[in-house]
Symmetry: C2
Subunit: 223 residues, 2 copies
Amino acid sequence: MAEPRDNQQPDSVFTRPPRGRRAQPALSRERIVAGTIALLDRDGAPALTMRKVAAELGVHATSLYWYVDRREDLVDLALDAVLAEAAAGLPGPDEPWESAVKTTARRFYTALTDRAWAAEFAGVRPLLGPNALALSRRIIAALADSGGGDEDRAVAIRALANQILGAATTTVAMRAGAAAARGGTDDARAAAVSASDALAVENAYFDQVIDLLLAGIRARRAT
Amino acid sequence: MAEPRDNQQPDSVFTRPPRGRRAQPALSRERIVAGTIALLDRDGAPALTMRKVAAELGVHATSLYWYVDRREDLVDLALDAVLAEAAAGLPGPDEPWESAVKTTARRFYTALTDRAWAAEFAGVRPLLGPNALALSRRIIAALADSGGGDEDRAVAIRALANQILGAATTTVAMRAGAAAARGGTDDARAAAVSASDALAVENAYFDQVIDLLLAGIRARRAT
DNA sequence: ACCTGAACACCGTTCAAGT
DNA sequence: ACCTGAACACCGTTCAAGT
């Protein structure tokens, strides 16, 4: 845990701010988001407090308010940052619509379940950041090629969004429940094996659930 | 806001505790749950603090710990209490499986969205109370009649659970967003009309989304 | 412009003490 | 058995002040 730094550099042209303005702000939104994610990865969702994020950055809690308005902003920024990878490698526009839906949904779900805190916060904060929007839009674009009327597509979009969010939320809840039930009573090797098995099972379930929705969409289109 | 009561009744046989034991405990789990729900209905999810629940009941915050272990227990108890109505009037065993799924899912969803705090907490606490289990089991029982293999049914169960939770969560989030966007700029009559319209639209969407899943289940069974 | 420091009005939870 | 009261170790956020 870093102490608020005490600025004891020797006085010289190089350290002195180059006019009225400070040379480099100690903080920035990016640094704050990075610190927030580091804290969340290490200590989990309940550890997200203004004071702890500030400590992570060697700064006072009140300094954060220069860059964000409230604690919730940190949550929203961290969540969207974590969705950046998922939004980076989206299927191209020539991808058939069904596989585009599948891989985009899976990427979204994986980003949320990779870090437990992401799924926990996603259930509590609406996902409105640019990366969340990019993911949503890719799914919407794919459904545009799915046939059916506007109404059908609007329903399908909601169904997929609900499914992704619901699946991510219940997956991390079940993991937490399983971990609590296990207690401390298992050796590391067995735990690692069963964890990777469990992950494969979870992912298979997610894919099948999405397939079920796609089957429904196809069936609807046929009638 | 009730003050902790100051016990100034006249001394008599009727007021005096009838031996070592107290006549009637001032508190009980039921009273605590009722107070919690009253508070949540009035002031919303962020108002749920041990101190405020205690004030609601005219008691000190620390007294609650005789009946519950932690704040989360209040959340779990309040959530399950709110699901009691929904679990009370479930479709009978002779109901055709598709309509049993539809009405049970709808009851579950409605219970969660009727009070915003219920959906908010449902996204954050696993629903493991007796009433939540009764609702889940009714859906599971219905799916037993849906045909298909065990694996298909397990997938369908997850899909429905994810859908209910996801739909409830996003519905209340959208309502909150819409309310924030409106600000204070609308008269009460117009607001009431548009709120009831919006509710009808929401419910129609939910029903259609469930229908989409059911179409998927049917299609799967056919192949 | 950017950060500190003090302060306000809260939190959940523990534990010893009363009755 | 059941409730109080004091206490501990926190919270988010505001605002004036420093540089």
